[in-house]
Symmetry: C2
Subunit: 348 residues, 2 copies
């Protein structure tokens, strides 16, 4: 049997056998985790469907993983059998470049190892993610999960959570700031919860008046309907920061117009072409930035913050057997706000 | 006769009479300046030709003004008759908003008064610029010009100079940084001189191999030909800051790819649509910013720095009578690197 790579997950024994792969032994600094829950991220769907043209089959998706430690390598110091842990979008990085030294492994100059469909550094081949019974992860990339939270609802924090938390922290969002969150989905709903918990005057910016009520329930102090030109004009030049979670290319200019002088809008979703007028940036010395998930240290800080402030994701639990239906509903934005797979169901 | 506004310049007595306007008396905090030289900025041409659709005729362009004080109002403290002074793109602002209080009058929340084609705050009507014998300017907007420099070649510092200086300072360009300057024209040639003088490893980024030699003469340590994909790839992810002086909409993605993680490219020329891929910003947490000229305090700092480091613009002097030919040559990028009008010629 072919050995699976260092981060190999096991879908089921039968699946493994069908794929002609065998789970490898753990390395001295590896942690082996039995998976309890795994969130469903839109990028899982892109990878399964090869939308980005870089998928490697067989694909085992899932990078919002919650589980319990079942075994640790000889050199593992911070985890022991039974610990409640999480794994996000990365399972390894070089640990030697400037980015890694600055605890920004997501920008590892030698390429971070994605939790699934990533390049294995030790054994070759590609990594397998969290839609699985088990995962083996380098200790450094394992997160401690606060015990006081609804464990299943913590799963999406590992991707949707940290992706929105990181730019809010990087741009120093604080009490009294006026912060906009564009788009109310898996990312946006976490952006609102975090901006609100950080003390900002939080404004949901959405095209859909129907989302107003739910946005307020999640913590928005105000809802700004971006199709309403009068409202947009009224808010012009008034935002200290805008978190833009729109997942596709779009016209950023109406949002840039909302920023104060010297303020920033950070894109966390749109990775294709966006419309930008230079004049909108020049006239107010404004900034359009990007941000990719977050580092491991920062992810732990976010989880700790969530423990203290009792923050989790709004989820809908599904069984593994319903994943295809769930994918369709994600594509149609028909979930409030994240599906989480109950991994016990994988054994059904 | 109709009185001209507070910042009124006098083209000539005959011109004024033809325009049915009379120069107003100076206000208590005004400085009256006899103009020696005036630089020719591309925006002069845009306004004269009403390219932006907001020109007010008669237009007297010119916002790179060098002259001597001939009269001061009763409350003027910092200038006296005979002082060598400069006036840039602004002649007034509210002085009360946050931007003005932070010495960033160019972003005045109540609208700064442009040196020409601006809205007069006191008398109504519009302002007249430096292609003229005289100009009357609020004291706060008058700059002291170092006596040791080639006076005519100082003129372009008041717009091209401060426009490139301000973002280099805002983004803290310093010794050892690798800084790119995109585009070698009136703005770009000042960007190179400043980045070099600030101690940065300065790279001219241009589409034209023919500009390499001149770029090095101006202070570039390296020249990167942006059409050469191999060269561009070699420099990928290596710049601490990029100053983008391209004056029209263009594809910014190849330049964003040159930035290090967390680094910024600032647009100072392009005020129309630019091409931006969100992914280029997201993957390295990069920033696309804008910057508009600079504040008066910062402009004075730049002039003082130029006095200390013996920096001026590279100019070609013309008489007022040659302005139309000069405009054609500016449009065709056929000037190294700025025309300056010898204002004595206005009396010919």
């Amino acid at each position: 049997m072919k050995k699976v790579n260092a981060y190999g997950a096991k879908a089921s024994d039968a699946d493994l056998e069908a794929m002609n792969i065998d789970r490898r032994d753990i390395l001295p600094n590896d942690v082996k985790i039995e998976i309890d829950y795994c969130g469903v991220c839109h990028s899982d769907i892109h990878q399964v469907r090869n939308d980005w043209g870089n998928s490697k089959y067989p694909v085992v998706p899932g990078h919002e993983i919650i589980g319990h430690v079942v075994e640790v390598g000889d050199e593992v110091k911070n985890f022991k059998k039974g610990d409640l842990v999480g794994v996000g979008c990365m399972v390894d990085s070089c640990q030697e470049c400037d980015a890694c030294k600055e605890d920004l492994e997501q920008y590892c100059e030698n390429g971070m190892v994605a939790t699934y469909n990533g390049q294995d550094k030790h054994l070759g081949g590609h990594t397998f993610g969290g839609y699985s019974e088990m995962v083996v992860v380098r200790e450094k990339f394992v997160l401690k999960v606060p015990e006081n939270l609804d464990t299943a609802a913590v799963a999406p924090l590992l991707c949707a959570g940290i992706t929105t938390w990181s730019p809010l922290r990087q741009w120093n969002v604080k009490k009294g700031d006026k912060v906009g969150v564009v788009g109310l989905g898996g990312l946006g709903h976490m952006g609102i919860k975090f901006a609100h918990a950080l003390g900002a005057h939080t404004v949901m910016i959405t095209t859909s008046p129907s989302k107003a009520e739910d946005a307020k329930r999640l913590g928005a102090d105000e809802v700004l309907i971006s199709k309403d030109e009068d409202q947009m004009k009224k808010h012009q030049g008034s935002f200290d920061f805008i978190l833009n979670t729109v997942p596709v290319g779009h016209d950023t200019n109406p949002y840039i117009a909302l920023l104060k002088r010297d303020a920033t809008m950070t894109l966390v979703g749109a990775i294709d072409e966006v419309d930008v007028h230079g004049g909108g940036l020049v006239m107010g010395r404004k900034r359009l930035a990007g941000s990719l998930i977050g580092g491991i240290k920062e992810t732990q800080e976010m989880l700790d913050f969530c423990g203290e402030h009792d923050i989790v994701s709004d989820i809908e639990m599904i069984d593994m057997q319903n994943i295809n239906e769930a994918y369709e509903r994600v594509v149609n934005s028909d979930v409030k706000y994240r599906f989480v797979i109950d991994m016990k169901s994988i054994k059904n």
